[in-house]
Amino acid sequence: MPVLEVTGLRKSYKDRLAVDDVGFAVGEGETYGLLGPNGAGKTTTISMVVGVLARDAGEVRIDGRPHDTASTSTKSVIGYVPQELALYPDLTARENLRFFAGLYGMRGGEARRRIEEVLTTVGLADRAGEAVGKYSGGMSRRLNIGIGLLNRPRLLVLDEPTAGVDPQSRTAILDNVRSLACDGIAVLYTTHYMEEAERLCDRVGIIDGGRMLAEGSPRELGAPDLEAAFLQLTGRALRD
């Protein structure tokens, strides 16, 4: 049974159809790449998967259990890393982690231990007492991912986690994701970088105009030149 199963997902904003009949599944230890140009519907799909956005139609199941915006039990096994740096700049890294750990029901010694583990994992243990507003872009990205790992998720959802980071931070992030998948976590990953998808993902789905255009392993879809296949499917016209 897949950790994440999405079928017939649909969402529209007034008269614009943002996601139309999208379906895919991600198994344990699998990394699934959701690829698409700007405005393709990736973030909308992810928002419905994590239960932040109400869907118009379709179904999302986590470990076989129905999941929507009100499902607190299934939300507790999802780690979410949004595209934005969803951090509080006035708070320190440790305070940011403590706040989100609290929301996932961790407290006391358990929370403290997990926070230190995460800080070590993302390489911020020695800067944990600094206000996040003073962090570099790469450090903020790593902390952003660290918060998604706090609850030891069964499903980790990463929305363009390497956007705007230096090669060192990107390598560290990719290594982290790979090692998490090796630990059995199901990973749903969106990116604009095709070489990242080729290196990291077991399977990819190419989405555009809210519809799933193709799905398969990177090799099946055209790797080592996944970008050519991507452009062939989505076209060369510039997007907003």
Binding site: T72, K75, Y80, E84, L87, Y88, E95, F100
Partner: protein, 391 residues
């Protein structure tokens, strides 16, 4: 419930770190109240006028010296009317009393004081042999007015004495039958209205407090938009926490921040500015009710906007207009026809409630009206915020 407290504490910590709570809830209301008191004279408990006097030994001993002893005026002897005119003209003295022959010593039966606030163009206080002339400084209209009243009162008392002496000299046959005269008119004063008024200091502190309360609450409510823009709201909503609880935490944050701000303001405004708030239980009820009303109103306004900037702009407009129309800056009586709109603002009912407390009345009506704002506003805001967050 634990999640609500977590969100609440996080918001409060942020508000403290970015200075919002201190600036909007305490520093600005106190600072502005202090300035308004200064400008509008609320800080003047004593007259502290600088008067000079030329001649007039009886008036000086009977009237001016006791006032000087009580600390209301500072008195100087001035050699001549010309010197007094010069001192008042340069603003060294607020007013100078210049005596002609003393009214008590004069044969004149009337002695009238008047003044012209323009230095150098005084009018004599009496056309008779005894007179008091008041030379006033243009820069001290209140002190000049008081000087004029003092002179007039003294002259009136002198007239009364002189009249009594004249009657006594004329003999009993000159006295009309007192029993045939109507009862003398008794001057009565209804003190309820003046008692219901807040003193200037308390008025300004309360007005500025409730005005900035709306901005304090506004920042908390608009924080929902800021969190949505930064992505933290999505992250919180992805956590296993009911969505309604997240929005409730934001509104409770507004309420708590408002309550803390008002409490600090009330506690420190007594010793710092001399504000007198009245019965603590009544004040607590009014403050709680107005904070709830402000949160409801600001939250509803925010839900009709799309971005944090839009929300802040519209909330500022509503808070400012309500503040002016509701009497947070000046008495609603000065607004003319617009005063009627004051009754639809929480500011008006808060100020009314404080005035009722001062008059020893009940705050039941103002508190009920304020809670009405909250009862209507908060559920509407919660429902709309929840829909906005999931849209």
């Amino acid at each position: 419930m634990r999640a609500l407290i977590l969100i609440l504490l996080k918001d409060l910590r942020q508000r403290l770190r970015d200075g919002t709570l201190v600036i909007y809830a305490v520093a600005l209301p106190l600072g502005l109240a202090f300035l308004l008191n200064l400008v509008m004279g609320g800080s003047a408990q004593r007259l502290d006028a600088r008067y000079g006097v030329v001649g007039l030994p009886a008036f000086t001993e009977q009237v001016l010296r006791p006032m000087e002893a009580a600390g209301h005026i500072r008195l100087s002897r001035v050699a001549s009317a010309e010197q007094g005119r010069e001192l008042a003209g340069r603003g060294r003295l607020d007013a100078v009393f210049v005596g002609g022959p003393e009214p008590s010593a004069a044969a004149s039966e009337s002695s009238e004081a008047s003044r012209d606030p323009s230095a150098g163009s005084p009018e004599p206080a009496s056309a008779g042999a005894g007179s008091i002339e008041v030379i006033g400084s243009v820069d001290a209209p209140v002190a000049v007015q008081v000087a004029r009243e003092l002179a007039e009162s003294y002259a009136a008392a002198e007239r009364g004495e002189r009249l009594a002496l004249s009657v006594a000299d004329a003999g009993p046959e000159a006295v009309p039958d007192l029993r045939a005269l109507p009862e003398p008119i008794q001057l009565r004063q209804d003190t309820s209205l003046s008692v219901r008024q807040l003193d200037t200091r308390t008025y300004h502190v309360a007005g500025m407090g409730v005005f900035f309360l709306f901005f304090t609450v506004m920042l908390c409510v608009a924080g929902i938009f800021a969190e949505r823009d930064s992505g933290t709201l999505a992250r919180i909503m992805a956590a296993p926490v009911p969505g309604s609880l997240i929005m409730a935490a934001k509104l409770v944050g507004g309420v708590l921040t408002g309550l803390i701000g008002m409490a600090v303001l009330i506690v420190v405004s007594g010793p710092l500015l001399g504000a007198r708030w009245g019965d603590p239980a009544g004040v607590a009820a009014l403050v709680t009710a107005v904070v709830l009303a402000a949160t409801g109103l600001m939250a509803v306004v925010a839900t009709f906007t799309r971005t944090a900037e839009q929300a802040a702009n519209w909330q500022s407009v509503v808070a400012t207009v309500c503040g002016i129309v509701g009497g947070a800056f000046f008495s609603v009586g000065q607004l003319g026809g617009l005063a009627a709109f004051g009754a639809v603002t929480p500011h008006h009912w808060f100020m009314e409630g404080l005035a009722d407390l001062r008059g020893g009345g009940s705050v039941a009506l103002p508190v009920t009206v304020l809670l009405g704002f909250a009862v209507v506003g908060i559920p509407v805001a919660l429902a709309r915020l929840g829909r906005m967050a999931r849209a």
